[in-house]
Structures are given as structure tokens and as C-alpha cells.
């Protein structure tokens, strides 16, 4: 004996969630797009519409160009390091499947991905430290002179790439392991009957089947590297409080423009650039997937 109308529950249940969703997700996204077309210094009351002028200015803003250049280098380098290393690690760990130590390997590789960012960045900062860091002492053993890792623009970029790859590898290993488990046993057995070695079986059976997974991990890693912030923020300040030479990344430049220079419209334009990059990467991923399934 139902007296309440059918739509009542779903509507009542959905309304609060959708309300939240609209307020804290959809509206701010639209607002970002809108603000990017205005020149708004947060202190002033005036908010003139400037069309695409913010974007035009970004195109010749040396700090922004440096940021986008650095971020792109970091993102692609992290992918170039992470994917092959993680693939090899996953393949090796996979041979240890079912043994207790396989869990130990998985956990050790994965831990950097989940520990808090700031302590992890601090650990690396010490390793790279010019005076105290073990890295300089280590390269000193083979006769390479000490480097000021976190002050040299190129070297500090290298440091960030190392730090970000260290974090990204565990995640990629995990996804590859799942992918490897999904490779049908029958294929391996067929290869074995044909006299293929384990390496050949891996190379010609597992790797081609893992390609979509590799693609997926690459795009996810690229996107998350475009968003890095804490990793650049933490090593940027010297132990003694003097700001070190820092690697300017996209999010850092964006936050500096909005919170230090109070140029909200300009920062919003940067956010739009970030959004466009992410959308391009995501749609490229979808396209590649579609082509693959059609083939």
C-alpha cells in the first residue's frame, strides 16, 4: 500500500547532492571560465571585460612561459621514466606472485605514492642538499664535484623529476600488476608449447595486451604531473629560511598571480590553460582507445 509518489525518493535523495555539486563544483568551474575573460584586480570594484586579452598576455608572460615549459618537461619526463621502470618492476613482481615477499615488494614500491607529500619532499630535499645531502657525497666518491641541486635551474628540474617519478612508480606498478593478472593463462601455455622463453612470452603476449593499460597510466601520470604544487613548494625554501631557486610550475604561478598579485582574472586564464591541457590529454586517450577497439 504505497501512498507516496514514485519520484519522491529519488528526487529527495538527489537534491542535496546535486545542490552541493552545483555550488562547489559546477558553479566554480563556470566561474573560472567567466573570470578568465575579465581583468579583475581583487581589490578594485571594477571588473572590465577584456575578452581574450588575458590569454594574449599569457602568451608573452615570461614567468608563465617558464612555468608551462617546466611543467611540461616534468610531466613528460616523469612518464618516460615511470612507464618502463614500472613495467619491468611489475613483470618481476608478477613472477613472485603467491610468495609472501611479493607483498613486501608491492608495499615498498607503493608506499611513496601514499605517504604525505610534504614529509616525502623534505626527505628528498635533504638528499639533494648541497652541503649535507648524501647525493653530493655519493657523486663525490666517483669524482664528480658537488652540485647545488636545488639552486641550479636545470638541476632543480631534475630533482623534481626524480621526486615525482619516485611517487608515480608505485601507482603504475600496481595498475600493471592488475593488467598482468588479467592476461589469459591459455596464451602463456600456448607460447610455452611453441617453445617460447618466458621473456619472449612477456614481450610478445603480455606487453601488447598491456598497451591500453600503459596508455591509461601515461595519461593519468601526465595529468597529475601537470598539477604538481607541493613538490615544488617544499624544496623551494632553504633550511635557513632563505627562498631557494625554485622550479616555477603551473599551479604555483597561478596561485602566485591570484594570491600575491591579486590578478584573479589572469590566474583564471591560467586555470583555463590547465583545463585545456587536461582535456586534450583525456580526449587523446579516448581517441586512442576507440581506434584500438575498432582495429
Amino acid at each position: 500500500m504505497r501512498t507516496t509518489p514514485k519520484w519522491l525518493f529519488p528526487v529527495l535523495a538527489l537534491l542535496p547532492v546535486l545542490g552541493l555539486y552545483g555550488c562547489i563544483r559546477v558553479y566554480p568551474i563556470i566561474e573560472t571560465l567567466r573570470l578568465s575573460l575579465f581583468q579583475w584586480n581583487i581589490i578594485s570594484r571594477r571588473k572590465p571585460f577584456v575578452g581574450f586579452a588575458n590569454f594574449v598576455e599569457l602568451a608573452s608572460d615570461p614567468l608563465f612561459l617558464e612555468a608551462i615549459f617546466n611543467t611540461t618537461i616534468i610531466a613528460f619526463s616523469v612518464v618516460a621514466i615511470t612507464i618502463p621502470v614500472a613495467l619491468v618492476l611489475a613483470a618481476l613482481i608478477n613472477t613472485r606472485q603467491g610468495l609472501r615477499r611479493s607483498g613486501v615488494y608491492e608495499a615498498s614500491v607503493f608506499l611513496p605514492h601514499v605517504v604525505s607529500l610534504v614529509p616525502a619532499a623534505m626527505a628528498w630535499k635533504w638528499i639533494f642538499d648541497a652541503r649535507l645531502g648524501p647525493l653530493n657525497a655519493l657523486i663525490g666518491l666517483v669524482g664528480i664535484p658537488a652540485q647545488s641541486w636545488l639552486f641550479d635551474p636545470v638541476l632543480s628540474l631534475v630533482c623534481l623529476i626524480v621526486l615525482c617519478s619516485w611517487q608515480a612508480i608505485g601507482y603504475a606498478v600496481l595498475i600493471f600488476l592488475v593488467g598482468l593478472k588479467n592476461v589469459p593463462e591459455a596464451l602463456y601455455e600456448a607460447a610455452r608449447l611453441d617453445g617460447a622463453s618466458s621473456f619472449q612470452a612477456f614481450r610478445h603476449i603480455a606487453v601488447p595486451l598491456l598497451k591500453p593499460v600503459m596508455l591509461y597510466v601515461s595519461v593519468i601520470t601526465l595529468i597529475s604531473s601537470y598539477n604538481i604544487y607541493a613538490q615544488a613548494f617544499v624544496p623551494a625554501s632553504d633550511v635557513q629560511g632563505a627562498p631557494g631557486r625554485l622550479v616555477r610550475v603551473l599551479v604555483l604561478d597561478m596561485l602566485e598571480n591570484s594570491f600575491r598579485n591579486y590578478r584573479v582574472g589572469y590566474a583564471a586564464a591560467e586555470a583555463v590553460v590547465l583545463l585545456v591541457i587536461v582535456l586534450i590529454l583525456t580526449s587523446a586517450q579516448f581517441r586512442l582507445f576507440r581506434d584500438r577497439s575498432r582495429a
Binding site: Y21, R101, Y105, V115, L132, I220
Partner: protein, 286 residues
Amino acid sequence: MSEHEREHPSVVGQNGAVGLVIDAVLGVVSLMMLLPLVFLISNAFKTPPELLAWPPTVIPHQPTLENIVSVLRETPLFRWIGNSLIFATLSTASIVSTSAIAGYVLGKFDLPGIPVIFGVIIATAVVPFEVYMIPLYLNVQSAGLLNTWPGLLVGYLIMSFGIFLVWQYVMTSIPDELLEAARVDGAGELWIFLRIVLPLMRGPLGALAVLAFFQAWTAFAWPLVVMTNKETYTLEVGLALFQTGFTVDIGRLSAAAALALVPSALFFSLMRRNFVRGVASSGLKE
């Protein structure tokens, strides 16, 4: 992941020389991955002269609690840990409940507009938080919510991906017949959701809870701009700003960072299975 781990025919050198080499390689790599964190913890217990010594020691020769004591004296570290815990717990509770209800309704009810709503949720799932952070901040500021719990939480109340995860599970694993049978028996919709659907969703919700907790626990940019009061910092923010102080040395810095790692590592070891399942089933972190 399969319940019973059969022996893999693809397994090479389970024993023997090849196996030894593989174990050696994996052992070295695992150690290298952990080394930065091991050094961080070890440095926390070192005296200033030992911190300068080469080669760096893994186990301090003269372990001292001096660094930890002075960090705890100078900073409200436990307060920051508490703030982070509360923040992550509340965010997780909100994300899990909103995802559960929205995913279920979107997956099982046929109302006009649902395809559009679902489309919007999927479309916004790819938008990084950093993209819409500034307008969100301006709203929080104009609502006078800076340095308040609601202001901090606003950024982490929902997760598009969580809604999608539940939706996917609802579509594939909860049969319509089950819900219909309950309706025929006269059960109310809310009762059905709470008593039948929710218990069935324990698996994906558990995985989502771990993802959501870690997302909030490691959040940085948002807490950094919203919580500007030393007492309201989250752990990550407190730590990051502590290191910019003038009198901080490596020993104390390591001590603070090592203490900050304890909850993460504990939580990870407790929730590893769920977490791995969550990441594996979903892949995506927002």
C-alpha cells in the same frame, strides 16, 4: 584480485638462479624506494654532528630524542595531526555518503534529466581541483568561512569519481529484481536503500573511503590557502610552513616530518588491501 592465487604458469624461476637474481633486483629496488623515508626517520634521531657525517648512518650511533622533543615544544604538531584527522574523516564521510546515494539513484531510477545529470558529473570528473580552486576560494572568503571547518571541507565534500564508482557497481552488481521484490513486499524506498543496497555496496564504499581519506590527508594547496591560522593548519600545511622558519635545522625538520609520517604509514598498513583494491578497481584519483 583472485581469491585463490593459483600458481602462475607464467612464473619464471620460482626457485633457482633466475629466481635469486629477480629477488636481488626487487630487494634492491624496494630498498631504494624506501631509503628516503628510512633516512628521514633515522635523521630524526641523530645529533647535529652525526647529521654531517659521511657515510650517512641508517641506525643512529647516539640516538637522541632532542629533535622530537623540541619540535613538539615549538609546534602544535599533535594539533595539526588532529586537524588533519578530523578533516580527512569528515571529508570521507561526506564523499562516501553522497556518492552512495547519488550513484544508487542515478543507476536505478528512471527520471527525466538523469542522463544529463550523469553526463555533467562525468564531464566534471576530469577537471582538476586546481582549475576551479580560485572561484571556490572567493566564495568561501565572501561567506566568511576562512579558517573554519566548513570552509576547509567545502573543497572536499564530493567526488565525481566516487559517484561514478558507485554507479558502475550498482549497474553491474545490484539486480533490479531484488529491489522490485522488496517493493512488492511493501518496503519503503529509504528502507530498501539503507537495509538492502547499502550493505551490498560495502566493498566499493570501503575502497572509496580509503581513496577519499588519502585524498584529504595529502591535500595541500586548498588547506594552505583556506586555513591561515597556525592553530587551524592541517599537518601538511603546518609542516611545509614550519620548514620555512628561520631556526629550523635538518634534525628537527626530519623529526617533524618523521612524526608526520607515522599516521600515514599506520593507516596505509591497516588499509593496504582496501587501498590496493580501490586503486586497482578505479585507477583514478581526483
